[in-house]
Symmetry: D2
Subunit: 336 residues, 4 copies
């Protein structure tokens, strides 16, 4: 159960509500976000909400049967629109395009990418400075110095930045230089990281785990929301299955299902979803048609020379063509 509190609630009123809820056999958790205050009451017995509905300080009460509560669409029918500032949004009826290299490599590379994105009207650039790698001997990214360089150039170009955060200590280091924190597929259930991202006032995009269920993805989002941060985006990036003809199996089903279950925007990552350069386009277009609020993909001036993910990265002319087609596909979808 979600008990929405009024913004003017007094602390004694809150105490009374908590006592009442506790006396009814429920365990309550107080949640304060950028946008509101809530009590999440968890319990097994049902009770008549009229028993508490009259109490001062309560704005609204919602019964939510899902395991996750605050990210459920059962209490918030309107889709959340995440604001990145300067008129850039994810969700809420537009199509957000995020493109860029797997890893930030050089100043030159960043400049070329920004030029390409500006020309194509793309407002968000992706890139990794901390890279999760299976092998300890592989390239692990440029780190914070690379991020600062990138941020300076992107800011000058009027382009927003999304980049992966891998551990708690990186949150503070990165906070001034990113517009969206990305939680990677290996960290979807890194609960300490999620807890800490709840304390930040900056959008967070959570990727589905490598073999995570949709339920788990939503519960991970609930961690961040209940920690205090409502600015959340979900991302489908393919799952691990028995089929090895593609790197992952893009779960196209996840898009309509997540949009039905949650009010959060849903982004698709076709680069990881299929993992093969020549098929990124059809998968991206399919995701647009299935209802995605955004697409995030990898592009590089010379994919074959990229430090990582070379086999699934588009060059700029492929990227340009994809952007044009995605816009046309989205326009068609939007016309229905």
């Amino acid at each position: 159960m979600i008990i929405q509190l009024t913004s003017s609630i007094q602390s004694s009123q809150k105490d009374s509500i908590v006592s009442k809820v506790t006396s009814l056999g429920y365990k309550s958790t107080e949640v304060n976000t950028q946008l509101g205050s809530y009590l999440i009451a968890i319990g097994k017995k049902e009770f008549d909400i009229r028993q508490i509905g009259f109490m001062p300080g309560i704005a609204d009460i919602h019964q939510v049967s899902d395991e996750y509560k605050l990210v459920s669409r059962k209490w918030k029918v309107d889709q959340t629109q995440v604001d990145l500032g300067d008129g850039v949004f994810i969700g809420g009826g537009s199509l957000a395009i995020m493109a860029g290299p797997c890893s930030i490599e050089t100043e030159k590379q960043v400049e070329l990418t920004l030029t390409h994105l500006k020309k194509s009207g793309v407002k968000i650039m992706r890139g990794g400075v901390f890279k999760p790698r299976s092998s300890p001997y592989a390239f692990r990214g440029l780190g914070v110095d690379g991020l600062k360089m990138w941020h300076q150039l992107a800011k000058a170009a009027g382009i927003k930045i999304i980049s992966e955060v891998m551990q708690v200590s990186q949150i503070a280091e990165m906070d001034d230089y990113v517009d969206v924190f990305q939680v990677g597929a290996r960290n979807t259930q890194n609960f300490n990281l999620l807890d800490e991202l709840g304390k930040v006032d900056k959008p967070v995009m959570i990727k589905r785990g490598i073999s995570g269920t949709l339920e788990e993805l939503l519960s991970s989002a609930e961690y961040v929301f209940s920690g205090g941060n409502e600015k959340l985006i979900l991302c489908e990036r393919g799952i691990r299955t028995y089929e090895k003809a593609s790197r992952n199996t893009m779960d196209i089903n996840a898009i309509p299902i997540l949009k039905e279950k949650s009010h959060l925007p849903v982004v698709a990552d076709p680069s990881h979803g299929i993992g093969i350069r020549e098929y990124v386009e059809p998968v991206a277009l399919a995701a647009v048609m299935a209802g995605a609020d955004g697409i995030i993909y990898e592009t590089h001036q010379k994919p074959e020379e990229a430090y990582s993910d070379a086999q699934q990265t588009l060059d700029f002319s492929e990227s340009e063509r994809l952007i044009r087609k995605m816009k046309e596909a989205f326009a068609l979808r939007d016309s229905w």
Copy 2:
């Protein structure tokens, strides 16, 4: 290696080619289809094809490294177009729509469905008369009598029929009454059935196995082709994964991959691919955008009263809307 033979080849010439190929350490299989004659030569050693290229009776020679040969795109770049007669085709640049109930139930139902399809410009009706059911106590379909009734009505309406064949003995029973034989997901590797369908001069659509790989699907098609029947269609219908939020996981990646690996048309089945009525539409549209040559889905005048698959069946107004949107999506894709 595929050795294409000339139509005028004499039997002594064929013998010479077989002898030569055998002497080079290859095992050869002769294949005669509706459209041509081939020798499939399988062996490990490489040899210079000029050693046999001059022999009379040989039209062309193709080296194909894939496990499957005749269905590979490595020797036949142009996409196959399967002709159902009366100007109805699958593949070759159009979008084939196939719709109808899970099971054929009554004359009334067939009539209503035909009327709906005609009105919407759909030329192929799907429906099952032999139903594979996990439980021996479940409804197993109307059998051949149902098929005859359906065929009579469909023929009068000018609509083609696709229906599942479950065992060898049904092939002869069904042959006069279907336009396309469907091999179901539980029979993708029923090799005896595939062998027999190779002897039929009628299109066959093979569904991917419940957890079949794309390689296995193509090898199953190779069975039918090498048995003598080139009129083949592949169908992606979702695979079994750990995720239980949907009935199956629609493998959208399979569409571009199959189209690259094979010259055969690729159809998508969103009804089984997601298994949830309200999400069939976005998944169908995604499949169109990903490059499918056709869509097969379930519709019924009263889905909640259908004998089977009620939870994934569209009603006629949903079906009409889907058809309209698919046509618009296909037109957009076709314009690129």
Copy 3:
């Protein structure tokens, strides 16, 4: 619901029971096996069984909530012991060992294998004469002639035969020459084949599907049982998962679960379960310890020269060592 009928029931009594059950809203299926007669009543409403319990011709009534009925342990607590004749059994407290090559190849091979088995005290030989192969160009087995040769030699040696049947027409061909019909992993849901095997009075071992659930395996066994054949054995042979370090993932959990859910004997196939020769032994021993009623595995006089499955086949000295260890492991388990 399973209604066990008396052996002396009269047909008018049976009619009365069917009418009564129908009037209560249940659909009934009559089942006559080698061992008894049953009515399977399927319906949604609950009724008090005392309403029918008094009726003449009824021996017993069992409420079984599982989807499958006759193979459930909910009505038959004692484990089924399948009798192969001449004092050879599967199930019922002993450990049945079945060994032999993937494919029957030559007379010489059969003789060597029989000698090895006799020496080791193994009473059942496995071998394939009809081979399901993904590629139409691969070796498909010696067919019925090979089976006859094998049968003659095995009979002389006092060894029983288990061999795979792939299609309905092979049942009659094989019937005189096998002691146990095996249904392979690609045919677990070949329902027509299962129906026909219900009409045979000979043991049938059903392998779990390549990605079949335990529920599906039990439902497939229900097909054969409800068709009239109670002589059934279940076989776990590994499932398809994302992990490619082994050919399949042996589902060791399946053994205790199947033994709890069903009264049928449960055999394990470590050769296919892991697919790597040097690890067949530990997996076989694990299966014995987990409670398997039998082990089926591949052995060949020269594994590296076997026509098929060379990489997972033991030579005779490995086989001998495995047999000795399995007997010791089983003796320990049996002592508890």
Copy 4:
């Protein structure tokens, strides 16, 4: 390539080796553990190791083709034995038993468990004080205070402690109070955590990821080893598959495969591997027979009242019986 350095190597000698390796086109990483010093040289070109073999400071050179190097058995044939102190070991020919509750709950519970373990001759107690939970509203463990209480009681009883560490900041907090750090299935690829555990001189047991490959597990162990900590244990705990009859699918194959690929001890967790209390015993016994060096499982004085994992936890009498059987099974295996 692993270049083992002598303990007396001088820094100038090391510099010469690094220069030489670099000049040959290899990238080198220096690794210093509790037990030795190594240079890991990664590169694509092959070179004749005699080119460097003569250089002073080199003890030995091993070519290791695996992605992981230091944990591979290709350079270290003898199995690693991890020393927990006071004569308690994991690996090296004995069977280590680790048992205890999912979560540490109360002093009373700890005392009862310790008494049970002492009586049964078990020397390592498991238990969680930081619990990874999908839902932010679930019980998250007693934290460090619980650990201190537990440690005091266990130390007095002469029992070692293994407990999960979830994030970098907990390493220092826990270090004085645990004997083995456990990395949970959701953190197998938390590379920052692995890096930090490389700096600790205390055994680390790494669980396989929820759908992690064996290759990934070994690479995660490589992170810790290359960070400086050789005291490593691998743990198979079941993987996520399509089968939902059990919580996870215990991958019994993983045990012999990991033992072949790596010199590290391999422990099995049947509680999570099957997730159903009544089947923990057969799965544990199977794992012993398959070659496991240890078994870790959940036990509680009153499983039905446990704060977490109640459905897969043994009571003390079940635990006692399991311990006795595991010892007998291990004795049999050891006799071969």
